[in-house]
Symmetry: none
Subunit: 189 residues, 4 copies
Amino acid sequence: MKKAKSQEKAEQSKEHIVLVAMRLFSTRGYHKTSTQAICDEAGISTGLLFYHFGSKENLLKSIVKMTLSKIDETLEHNGEEDPVQLLENIIDAFFDSLKENSQYWDLYMALLYQPDTKAQIVEEVSEHSTKFRRRVFELMEKMGRKDPAGDSFEFEVFRVGSFASYLANHNEKLLIQARKKIKERYLNL
Amino acid sequence: MKKAKSQEKAEQSKEHIVLVAMRLFSTRGYHKTSTQAICDEAGISTGLLFYHFGSKENLLKSIVKMTLSKIDETLEHNGEEDPVQLLENIIDAFFDSLKENSQYWDLYMALLYQPDTKAQIVEEVSEHSTKFRRRVFELMEKMGRKDPAGDSFEFEVFRVGSFASYLANHNEKLLIQARKKIKERYLNL
Amino acid sequence: MKKAKSQEKAEQSKEHIVLVAMRLFSTRGYHKTSTQAICDEAGISTGLLFYHFGSKENLLKSIVKMTLSKIDETLEHNGEEDPVQLLENIIDAFFDSLKENSQYWDLYMALLYQPDTKAQIVEEVSEHSTKFRRRVFELMEKMGRKDPAGDSFEFEVFRVGSFASYLANHNEKLLIQARKKIKERYLNL
Amino acid sequence: MKKAKSQEKAEQSKEHIVLVAMRLFSTRGYHKTSTQAICDEAGISTGLLFYHFGSKENLLKSIVKMTLSKIDETLEHNGEEDPVQLLENIIDAFFDSLKENSQYWDLYMALLYQPDTKAQIVEEVSEHSTKFRRRVFELMEKMGRKDPAGDSFEFEVFRVGSFASYLANHNEKLLIQARKKIKERYLNL
DNA sequence: CATGAATGAGTGTTCATTCAT
DNA sequence: GATGAATGAACACTCATTCAT
C-alpha cells in the first residue's frame, strides 16, 4: 500500500514535470529551455528530473508520448456511426485539440522541423499520423467518394495547412474559417 | 576602383558565409550549429564572421533577407499576361522554389515555429508573405471568381499545407500531386 | 543536520573562492584575471564559480562585501572609553588593516578609480565610508576640538593620502611615519 | 616643405588620437576601451592607429608622456620669486591642473593602482613625481622651516589625499577646501 | 525518492594586431 | 600615410549531467 502510494506520488510528480516542461518548451523553445529552468519552475531539485527521465531528450519523448496518447483517446472515443458523422467527429476532435492542446502543437511543429529534435520524436509521431491518414482514407471509401485516395490526400494537405497556418500566428478566425471550409469540401459529397 | 575591388571581395566573402551558414543551419538546425562550425566549413577565421555580421542572430537575418529577395525576384519576373497564366506562373515559381531553395525552406519552417528564432525573423518574413497573399487575392478577383476572398484563403491554406507536408519528409511525389491538385482547383473556374 | 553539513561545505567553498579571487585580482588586476585562472588556482571547475556567484562581477561584489564586513568588525570592537583613546584605536585599526588586508586595499584602490569597476562596488563601499567619516566627526566633537568639521575633514584627507601613498609603492616607512604624524596632529589638542 | 606639411598633419593626427584615447580611457576605463572604439571616435581607420603607435600599450605611454610634459610646462613657468610665493604658485598650478586636466588625472589614478597598467607607466611617472617632491623640499628649506623633511612629507601626503579624495567623486567643494587648508598649513610659518 | 554541489566541454563574442592594397 | 578585411587566442558564461549524502 505504501508502495502504491509512493508510486502514485511519483506519477504525479512525473506528470507535473512533463506539464511544466511542455509549457516551457513550447513558449521558450526546446533549446532555449534549460533543465534547470524546468526544475525551478516545477519546484523540484536538479537531481529529481534526471532520476525520473534520465535525460532531457528522454523528457521530450515522454512529453510527446504522453500527449499523443491523450489525443488518441479523444480521437477514438467514437461509438460506431455513419462515416460522414465519424469524419466530422474526427475533424472536430482535431480542431478542438488544436486549441485545447495548443501548447503541445506549438511544440510539435517546432520539433518536427528541426533536424535534431525531429530525429528524437519521429518514431513516436509517424506511427500516429500514419494511423490517422489510413482512418480518413477508409472513411472516404465508405462514404462512396469516387477518388478516396485523391480526396484523402487533399484532405490531409488541407488539414496540415490549417494547422501550420494557425500555429504560425494563433489567429482564431483563421481556425474557424478553415474548419468550416474543410467540412464543406469533404463532408458533403 | 581599388575600393571597389576590396568591397567586392568583402561582398563575396559575406555571401559565401551566408551560403555555408544556410546549409549548416538547415541540415543541423540553428541551435545545433555553432558559429565555429560555420567558420570551419567556410574556411574563415572566427573573427571574420563577427566582423561581417556582428552576431549569429544577425547572420540568420541576413540569410533570410538575402534569400527572400532572391525569391521575390523570381516571383516578380513576369511580363503582363492574363491573370490565369499569372497565377499559374506564381504557383510554378513557388513550387519550383520549394525544390530549388529546399534548404532555405527547411530552415524557414524551423525558424518560424521556434519562439526564439521566430522573433528574429518575423519582421523580414511577414512583409513578404502579406504581399504574396494580396497578390493572389487580386488575381482571383481579376479571374472573375465569385468568392475571391474565400478562394484565396483556401488557396493559401492549401499552399501552406503542401509546403509543410513536403518539408516534413521531402517526398517528391507529394509535391507533384499537390501542384497538380492546386492547379486543378484554382486555375480552372 | 545533513543539510547543515552540505551548506557548511558550500560556504567553505565559496569563501575559498573569494580568497583566491581577491589574491589574483589584487596582484594581476581585475581585468587581467580570467575566471578560468581563478578556478584553476582554487582547484575547482569552471562551472562551480558561476554556480556560486553567477558572474565575475558578482564575485567582485562578494569580495568587497565580505572584506568590508570583516574590517567593520575590527573597527567596532571597542569597549567604551574616552574619545581620544577611541580615535587612536580607530587610527590603529585602520593602519593595521592596511598591512593585514593589504591585498584588499590594493584591490580597493584599483576598483575605485576605474569607471567600470567603480560602478559595481560604489554602493557597497560608500555606505561604509560615510559611516566612518561620521564616527570621526563625533569623536572630534567629544574631544572638544574647536573646529571638528574642519579637523575631521583634514583628518580624512590625510588618511586617504596615507593610504594612497602607501598603496602606490608599499613603502613601510612611509606608513609608520604617516601614522605617527596623524596621531600627533589629531590626538593631541 | 611638403614633407613638413605632411609631418605636421601627422602630428595633428597623432595628437588628435591621443586626445580621443585619453577621453575614452578615462571615461570608460583602459581595459573597457577597445582600439576600435578609439578609431571610430577619432574617425580614422584601424590600421592608422597602429601605424602611429604600434600598440595599445604604447598609445597609453604616449598619453602619459604628452600630458606630463604639458603639466611640467605649467609648473615650471615661474620667474624666480620668494619661496613662499613659489610654493603657492605650485600649489595653485597643481590644483588648477586637477580641474583642467581632470580627465588625465582620472586616468592617472586608474593606471597607477592597476598592476598591469602601472608597470607600463611607472617609469614615465616616477621621475616626474620625484622631481616634484624634491622641489617642495627645497622650497621648504629656503622658507626656513624647522623640519623641512617632515613638513614636505606631510605636504605630499596631504596633496595626494586631496587628489585621491577629489577624484573619487569629483566634489568641487572638497577641492576648494583642501586647497585652502593646504595653503594655511604650509604657506604660513 | 530527493537534494544540490560539482563537473567540464562547449558557446557566442571580443579584441589587439597584421597586412595586402 | 591610410584603409579595412582578416586573424586567432582569449573570455565570460551556460548547461546537461553526475553523485555523495
